[in-house]
Amino acid sequence: MRFDKTEISLAAVAIACVLFGFVSPGWLIFLLTIAFAKALVVQGVVMQMRSGLVSFGQGLFYCIGGYTVGMGGQFFGIHDAIAALSLGMLVAIAVAMVLGLLLTRYRDIFFAMLSLAFSMILFGILVKSPGLGSTDGFNVHNWTIFGWAPDGGESSQHTVFTLTVLAGLMIAVLIHRYTKAGIGVICEAVRENEVRVEYLGLSPRWLLYGNYVSAAAVSALGGGLTALATGHVDPEMAYWTTSGEFIFIALLGGLGHVAAPFIAAVVFSVVRTYAIELVPHTWQMILGFTLLGVIVFLPKGLWSLVSRKKAGERA
């Protein structure tokens, strides 16, 4: 197997992140863990955006991933983190395979609203389940990894961080290969002109279906990692504002490169946490202005800072 430059860079950054985790303060590790986990969900959103579909309900799979990890430990005795994360992805794939049959018939705002609707249905079901703590949710703890139980505090934090970085790396490499492969390029063609793709003898619908299902799996992984890191899940994970946040981050980063969602998620988390600290009453405004600024000045997201520079060099 040959790795291209991007993949090697990604791996280098991932290793740097893991090493950096050993010297940085706990709050920063946590912030980065959550940012990278959310970035995985954003990868799911971006995968669909690339093919022209905006999912306003990616929180559905984020929540499925989180709740599967939580419920696995709480009710089914699945304490191994890897097993629980994989189970979360499997459940998400199963759900996406069913919902995808309906959703891939729709485009544009109809797809967006329908995906939002399914996410809110899950929210409604969870809110009406007192056994799962209704809106309060429940704690996720006592997880192990390959039979080894991190002894609380820092060691479990480092473990989740490392796990998240490695998962992020794996997914990033896979998505990078996917977008460069023929099928990934056709996704962009579907966005530009679906009818032509059909005339070429391909089925845009089944392409979108596969895309939707794999995006669901990636998002569920992000949700599961968030649940492990936070130690708590609640139905808010499926609420529309959470899905909105993922779109926010996706727009912030842009569709230019597989690393963009990761960078955007870190920027988003850093801006938000400092906004909350410095202007506790109006932090939402700071976030709003940030997005507005990016849309006005960098319509293709933060990544255009990089690609613009590259274009300049080429010229």
Binding site: F20, P25, W27, F30, S134, N139, G231, R314
Partner: protein
């Protein structure tokens, strides 16, 4: 092309490093060991819970911190600041859900280096933060959230405390008030927001009513979604069943909207409203709520707080600053801050020294301290949960002034399950061991 790719990877590495570095530098700047007692205050500063709960609480915290730093409180809290050290409050917003609150809690403790955290209105946030408080070994007081699960799921808590009352107390108290003042009511109904708070409140209320008002029956229950704002259909559904009591755990804008709409539709003339959180809007109902509507304050707080030196001082100071009487969330915030001060000053450390989390926890565990709401006994949850009485009364509006009449108070032992017994079990068993005045 080769050149571009290397530039890119450099870009990526330097970008991530720069971000981390700025964050790290900023953390160094704010982590000043300046001899002040840093307290993180977390409450809603935005969203629907900000107006009724968050803002009065944050205001109370500001009034109290300022006065404590000047040493203006009556004895036994007349020592400057906390144990002689000046207090520095870091107020942050609780909006945004449990994941974000866990992140912000870690930021408070690890980046802002606070010595203690007071906060949380939302039960979900309390439940999510409790294990983190234990992990980071940080003294934390939940001042308002009501979930009974807090010390059931964290039964070995060392650093998490709650100076407010469990929500089951609200509803046991409400039924006791009905049994004491209207023993003959037969037709009960309820309207609750469809989320944990509403569901739990209604479950506790109906279970307690089945024991204490055995003649009564539940004729209607409605669960509109939270923040719905329009309750026309629900009010009609309640009206046609001709209830005598309409119980509601609504709060904030929803509660005010319900009172306004139900009163205009005549529901609150035929039936008596019973609002467990009703006191929080005491000053805003004016003539839009009927006289005789039963309201509570989730404990002896707000307008139900007893006359004592501390409360007289607190009401005066709050009123002087904001031209309003403190509502129950404000009193509860003041109580949590006094609890923290009590813990610090009874931790057995030298003057002006800042006690460790373990010393603070030992100072508050099982203690009983004087507060704006009377004496607080940390007598439940293994010494981590406050036990206090609760009072209910009727709203009365006359000559432009709202007041509470026919108030009845119940002692803590009368409405609180014994140690180690869950509220649901205690109610189901018929309140064994309850001592009522």
């Amino acid at each position: 092309m080769k050149n571009n790719k290397t530039t890119f990877s450099k870009y990526l590495v330097s970008g991530v490093a720069a971000l981390a570095l700025t964050a790290g530098l900023a953390s160094g700047a704010s982590a000043a060991e300046n001899g002040k007692f840093r307290v993180g205050i977390v409450t809603f500063l935005s969203g629907p819970a900000a107006g009724p709960f968050g803002v009065p609480s944050a205001n109370a915290a500001k009034v109290l911190v300022e006065a404590l730093n000047k040493g203006e409180l009556p004895a036994p809290y007349n020592k400057i600041g906390i144990n002689g050290a000046e207090i520095e409050a870091v107020i942050i917003d609780e909006a945004g859900g449990a994941t974000k609150q866990v992140e912000e809690y870690r930021n408070l403790v690890q980046r802002q280096k606070v010595d203690a955290v007071i906060g949380y209105v939302s039960s979900g946030d309390c439940l999510a933060v409790a294990p983190v408080a234990e992990e980071l070994k940080t003294f934390t007081i939940a001042y308002d959230c009501g979930t009974s699960r807090l010390f059931v799921e964290n039964s070995d808590a060392q650093y998490m405390f709650r100076t407010g009352l469990d929500a089951s107390v609200d509803n046991i108290g409400a039924v006791r008030y009905l049994a004491a003042t209207r023993p003959d009511v037969a037709r009960l109904s309820g309207i609750q927001q469809n989320y944990s708070w509403g569901q739990d409140s209604w479950a506790d209320f109906t279970a307690a009513a089945a024991k204490l008002l055995p003649e009564s029956e539940v004729v209607e229950e409605q669960f509109p979604k939270i923040y719905q704002g329009q309750y026309g259909a629900e009010i009609s559904a309640l009206s046609v069943k001709r209830p005598e009591i309409v119980h509601s755990s609504f709060w904030g804008g929803d509660m005010e909207a319900l009172v306004l709409q139900a009163n205009a539709r005549g529901l609150l003339e035929d039936a008596t409203g019973l609002l467990t959180c009703g006191e929080a809007s005491l000053a805003t109902y004016k003539d839009q709520a009927p006289n005789g509507m039963i309201i509570g304050a989730r404990g002896p707080f707000g307008a139900f707080a007893p006359e004592n030196d501390l409360n007289t001082w607190f009401k005066g100071a709050y009123n002087a600053a904001y031209d309003l009487d403190p509502v129950y969330p404000a009193t509860k915030m003041a109580q949590a801050i006094l609890g923290l001060k009590f813990a610090a000053e009874n931790a057995g450390v030298a003057d002006k020294a800042i006690p460790t989390a373990d010393q603070l926890a030992a100072g508050l565990k099982g203690a009983s301290f004087p507060s704006v709401s009377g004496t607080v006994e940390m007598a439940r949850g293994n010494g981590h949960q406050a036990m206090q009485g609760i009072a209910y009364g009727e709203y009365h509006y006359e000559d432009g002034k709202a007041s509470i009449v026919n108030s009845v108070a119940f002692s803590g032992e009368c409405v609180t399950p014994p140690e180690g017994v869950s509220a649901a079990d205690w109610i189901a068993q018929g309140f064994p061991g309850a001592q009522c005045n």
